[in-house]
Amino acid sequence: MDASSLTKRYGAKLAVDDLTFSARPGIVTGFLGPNGAGKSTTMRMMVGLDRPTDGTVRVNGRAPHAHAAPLNEVGALLEARSLHPGRSARSHLRSLALTSGIGRSRVDQVLELVGLADVADKRVGSFSLGMGQRLGVAAALLGDPATLVLDEPINGLDLDGIRWIRSLLRGLAAEGRTVFLSSHLMGEMAITADHVIVVGKGRLLRDQPMADFLQEARVETVRVRASSIGQLARLVEGAGAAVELGGDAMIVEGLSSDHIGTLAAGAQITIFELSPQSASLEDAYLALTRESVDFRADDHDGRLGHAADMSSDEGAA
């Protein structure tokens, strides 16, 4: 799956801004970004529901509407509920299956797979958030697709469900499928995804293997308290580290605690405290996306918050 200069504008709002990336078969690609970053919009364009203002998105080399067997090419779970509450789970899937000549047994199979076989004939309107999400996953898997596009699939799932979907997605990727899923939970992505694409305000911020992202995110610092802190600071700086002095303590970045201890011993300086500290993955992710956050979450719903960046389109609103 390839997106090339993908751009989507809603009136004055630039939701997706010149995105170019690809997702490969055989791995799980995570699509990360804060609220309003344009993840859902990008995914709707992948399925052909929204028409790009500019650029293209191709799955298996073709535009979404050019597939002869669309459900067999792309399976999608979208953000908003995409089902009629008056139908049963079975008849919902059945009506989608019929468009492509997919048989009843396949419908039963995906119902079984997502754990909804027992409630298959209940009205979808009575389903819980998690059950609705499972039905969405069933619909995405219906056509045994080579590419899966899942918008925040863990939304509404309980812990059991999260584990289930994690291993499901990893299994699907292991079968050689392209798995592309969005989330704004960095920690969840770190476990599930092999490759990560980070967007902010519609723009591409990172496109790299998850391992590299984690490596870069691991900023290790050491907090030091010692008898002659000023002298030790000069020694540490001389060894090539960055130092931040504050009172009788300092934060050292770029030198291990072993190294600092050795330097102190050599200069007869007594160490009171020597504690390695590692910034969390979340901190690294937040730092990366902070400047591009559209809406600050200073209350329950981020979208109700103030615009963090006054230069944004909605800053004056």
């Binding site: 529901l49 067997a69 009506s95 019929l98 468009t99 492509s100 797979l113 289930w164």
Partner: protein, 276 residues
């Protein structure tokens, strides 16, 4: 639920469907089958039944009330007299036409539908085919039933009509056709407007308000314009009484069909361009 949910049996996904062996192409007959299933898995049947019932009930009431011809209006005496339940019927069938489409948008189902059929136009076409097949059968049946119920009430009181008489068959079947076309018009408006209330208001404006508005501008021009509206043109085909300024029956049908076709042309054009 826990047994199936905690163990992700992804292996069973691929086994029955090795790539290349399946024919999961989207074709128009398949989309028609899907729309057929969709129509019956919702509670749309009550609207069809209500419209049929309205036709039959009006056939009985009008038949009963027009047994004695003295002092009756001409439209009650002609063959199409007992079919005046169409006036209520068109609101019900028009609403069904709207709901079949706008329901997809109000529930979000349209996103799943278009993810399965990204070309979109087959969905519009399939809905037209299924709706026409189901509603045309039901409405023609209802119209024929209303006609015969009324004749049963009239027999012995005043001369009854037979389907074999000139123009009677046209009027009786024509009323069913008229109702089907109104339903289809509702569907087209549903595709264009997308929201249920908006589409219902638009449809009712077209079939109820517009003709009345034109009455306010009383004069030959307004009368002429009214005859060219979908309702006026359709009525020329589905009623026996020919009033001056009205179109000829088959011209009327052609004009009404043109309206519906034009509405669908706009709907199809917008459907291809807009975000779902």
């Amino acid at each position: 639920m826990s047994e199936t949910t905690t163990t992700a049996g992804t292996g069973q996904l691929t086994q029955p469907t090795p790539a290349g062996r399946v024919d999961w192409h989207v074709t128009l007959p398949r989309v028609v089958a899907s729309e057929w299933a969709k129509l019956w898995s919702l509670r749309s049947t009550p609207l069809v039944m209500a419209a049929m019932l309205a036709m039959a009930a009006f056939g009985a009431i009008i038949g009963h009330n027009t047994r004695h011809p003295a002092g009756l209006a001409p439209e009650d005496l002609v063959a199409s007299g007992p079919l005046q339940g169409y006036y209520l019927g068109q609101l019900l069938i028009g609403s069904l036409g709207v709901l079949v489409v706008s329901g997809e948008y109000s529930t979000g189902m349209v996103r799943a539908t278009f993810a399965a059929v990204p070309r979109r136009l087959p969905v519009l076409l399939a809905k037209v085919i299924v709706f026409t097949a189901v509603v045309a059968c039901a409405m023609v049946a209802a119209s024929v039933a209303a006609f015969f119920i009324a004749q049963a009430f009239l027999s012995g009181y005043r001369p009854t009509y037979a389907l074999s008489e000139p123009d009677v068959l046209r009027v009786v079947v024509g009323t069913g056709v008229y109702l089907t076309l109104i339903g289809l018009l509702g569907g087209a408006i549903g595709w264009i407007v997308r929201s249920t209330p908006g589409a219902l208001v638009t449809l009712f404006a077209v079939i109820l308000v517009l003709p009345v508005l034109l009455l306010l501008f009383h004069g030959t021009r307004a009368d002429h314009a009214s005859a060219w509206l979908p309702t006026g043109a359709g009525a020329a085909f589905s009623t026996s009484l020919h009033t001056p300024g009205e179109l000829a029956p088959w011209t009327g049908l052609a004009v009404m069909v043109t309206w519906v076709a034009a509405a669908y042309a706009v709907a199809a054009f917008l459907l291809r361009r807009r975000d779902a």
